[in-house]
C-alpha cells in the first residue's frame, strides 16, 4: 500500500510559532455525558442522577471534568499541531462546573518551544457562553514528526 503519512502530518516543530492559537467550541449535551461516563466507567451520580445532583452545591448534573478537558486533546490532536501529536503532560485547573447545554470554547496558545528536545508547551483556557472561565491548564506535547526523514 502506497500510504505516506507525510502529507497527513500536522504541524512539525519548525512550523510552530510562539503566540499561535487554535480554538474549538461545542455545546455539551446529555448524549456527550452519557457516552463519556460509559467509556470511562465513571458513574458518579453528579453527572447522571438529577435527584442526587439537585442536592449537591451545583444543583444540577455536571459535565464530567475530563470530558471538558477532552477539548484540549481534540485541538492538539486534530487542529494544532494535528495528526501525529503526542501528549506528554497536562495540567488542569477546574474553576467552574460545566452543565449540560453549556457551550464551551477552548483555546490553546503556544507558550514555549524546545527545538532540541522537540517539545512544545501550550496554555489552555476554556470559557462558557457567558465568557466565564471554567477551565485553565498547560499542555506539553511532542509535535508530529516522521521517523526516518524528520520533516523538520
Amino acid at each position: 500500500m502506497d500510504y505516506s503519512i507525510e502529507s497527513k502530518l500536522g504541524k512539525t516543530i519548525s512550523e510552530i510559532r510562539i503566540g499561535d492559537t487554535a480554538s474549538f467550541g461545542k455545546t455539551f449535551t446529555e448524549a456527550d455525558v452519557y457516552q463519556f461516563t460509559g467509556i470511562v466507567g465513571n458513574f458518579n451520580p453528579t453527572h447522571l442522577n438529577k435527584e442526587f445532583a439537585s442536592k449537591t452545591p451545583s444543583g444540577k448534573r455536571t459535565v464530567p471534568q475530563m470530558l471538558v478537558a477532552g477539548l484540549v486533546s481534540k485541538i492538539l490532536g486534530t487542529q494544532y499541531p494535528g495528526n501525529g501529536t503526542v501528549h506528554i503532560a497536562q495540567e488542569l485547573d477546574f474553576i467552574e462546573p460545566v452543565f449540560m447545554g453549556d457551550t464551551i470554547e477552548a483555546t490553546v496558545e503556544v507558550t514555549k518551544i524546545d527545538g532540541k528536545e522537540k517539545r512544545v508547551w501550550f496554555d489552555l483556557k476554556c470559557v462558557n457562553q457567558e465568557s466565564k472561565l471554567v477551565l485553565t491548564g498547560e499542555s506539553e506535547i511532542i509535535p508530529p514528526f516522521m521517523i526516518n526523514e524528520e520533516k523538520v
Binding site: 500500500m1 500510504y3 505516506s4 503519512i5 497527513k8 474549538f24 461545542k26 456527550d32 457516552q35 463519556f36 460509559g38 467509556i39 470511562v40 466507567g41 465513571n42 458513574f43 458518579n44 451520580p45 453528579t46 453527572h47 442522577n49 435527584e51 442526587f52 442536592k55 449537591t56 452545591p57 455536571t62 464530567p64 471534568q65 475530563m66 470530558l67 478537558a69 477532552g70 477539548l71 484540549v72 486533546s73 481534540k74 492538539l76 490532536g77 486534530t78 494535528g82 495528526n83 501525529g84 501529536t85 503526542v86 501528549h87 506528554i88 503532560a89 497536562q90 495540567e91 488542569l92 485547573d93 477546574f94 462546573p97 514528526f145 516522521m146 521517523i147
Partner: protein, 148 residues
Amino acid sequence: MKARIGKTVDQLKVGESAYFAKTLADTDMLQFAGVTGDVNLLPINDEFAKQTIFKQRIAHGMLTASFITNIIGMRLPGYGSTVKKQKVKFTLPVFIGDTIEIGLTITAINVDDNTADFTVQAKNQKSEIIMTGSGVLVPPTPLDDVEE
C-alpha cells in the same frame, strides 16, 4: 429516593489508596475519539501509526487520564466527588491490549477547605510506569437525606 455519597473529608485517611485496572481495547480509543472529536490519526489509523516511532496505534493520553475519574467518582472518595486541580505526565505509550492499573493515594487532607491532595501512578502489565500525576480533589459533602 435516598442519595448515597462517597467518603466525606473527615472519613478520608492519608495513605489510603484505591485502584482501577482494565485492558485497553480498540473500542475505548474509537469511542473516546468519537465523543471528544479527537480523531488524531495516531490512535485510530493503523497505516498512519505504522510510520511513526511507535509503529502501532497508541491510546490518547487523555483517555488514560480520564480513567482516574473512575476512581475518584466511584471509589475514593466516591459518589459526589469533584476535582479541583490535576496534573498528569504520560511517561510511556499505551497500546491496544495493554492492561493498565491506576492507583490513587490520598497524600494530605484539608478539612477546613474540604479538599484532599492525591497522587496517581499507573502501570502497564509489565509493571512499567505509564502515567504519574497529582491533584486536589473535593470530597462530597453531606446531603439532606444522606444514607451512608
